[in-house]
Subunit: 154 residues, 3 copies
């Protein structure tokens, strides 16, 4: 079953790819790798959560934010592939940045929100290497930002 | 027009590539990709700004710092290409780390200082994927650090 | 002399590769690159140090933590290569995240703990591009996290 039919089953769908606000682009292909810019948890024009974990965003909401970053990243990937997500070979790497309070140590749990939906949608091809770290602040007061490297067909 | 003639028009020039202070190297090539180590905003032996945004470094000065990181990154790239920047195919990815106070949310604006000069110097080939995040502290009290992946000719 | 004999001379050895606790994997190969997930300074089931630098972890202990992350990363790499580390061509890139107090500026010194052992073990092939940054918090209260890109034989 395709990524998009699985999303549909989950009651989710790919949005129009979020437009970067600056002089950079959502995705760059080099060889068989596609690098996706850091995605924020937009749903439409609004972030689904705001502020550091756990004081302003709960771990559960941060997991949902991480999942939302993945959906936006897949939307960008689809556009970069001319609309055909079946050309994806696998996820290679995620960089997961969690805006958090000092002393917060559950960044891996938050990042699982991203990792698990990729596995749900793509199976073994959704497994990836990952760096998950805490940071004190993110753009637009987002609780999570996720960047991606995908491998695609030649 | 070449990258260096455009820099010259802007009243800028490539410095000698900053030397890393440790047992790592400024640039590594693997296949057609060149990975450039995180660059700090040195101009000569001094950073152009110090300390987190916005309490110690203004957004404008941080943008200038991000631009300076790009100039230093291009100097490293030129050395890695044996002095011939015309071998660059495109910028692939920037990692932009902005040292900032808690609650700062304009990391994208700061990172635009890097993104815009790359577009000015290289046109479409200067567009790139980007992750821009805040962090609480950077080496030598720099307000910005930028790392790069470039694609170069085989 | 092989990486593992040099480790042995130093009184060190590769552990069983640390298992990630989530739905991601320790290593992903794409072409000749292997991306290694962010490693924490585990020795057995315990981290060798806890908490930010310098208030809770000294620079020296953080350097030891960075070294430990490398040993764990090499263990992961060995497993990804079917047990044969001689297939490594070189280290390409390290991402070094140092959990630190506000105002800490010696992230490069901490990251040298990782860079120097790679040079000791692998010589010129151990040299790498590097981004070393501070962050306010890391998973499990680790003082250091290191992710890796290696180039391996086709």
């Amino acid at each position: 079953m395709s990524i998009e039919s699985k999303l549909h089953e989950m009651g989710l769908s790919l949005p129009d790819p979020p437009k970067p606000v600056a002089s950079y682009v959502p995705a760059v292909r080099s060889g068989n790798l596609i690098f996706i810019s850091g995605q924020l948890p937009f749903a439409g024009n609004e972030l689904v959560a705001h502020g550091p974990v756990p004081s302003h965003t709960s771990i559960e909401d941060a997991q949902g934010s991480a999942q939302r970053c993945v959906i936006n990243g897949l939307a960008v990937l689809k556009a970069a592939l001319g609309g055909d997500l079946s050309k994806v070979v696998r996820v290679v790497r995620l960089g997961v940045f969690v805006a958090c309070d000092n002393g917060f140590t559950e960044q891996a749990k938050v990042a699982n929100g991203a990792s698990e939906i990729l596995f749900t949608l793509m199976g073994e091809a959704g497994r990836h290497a990952r760096a998950a770290v805490g940071v004190n602040a993110l753009p637009l007061n987002a609780p999570v930002e996720v960047e991606f490297v995908f491998e695609v067909q030649p």
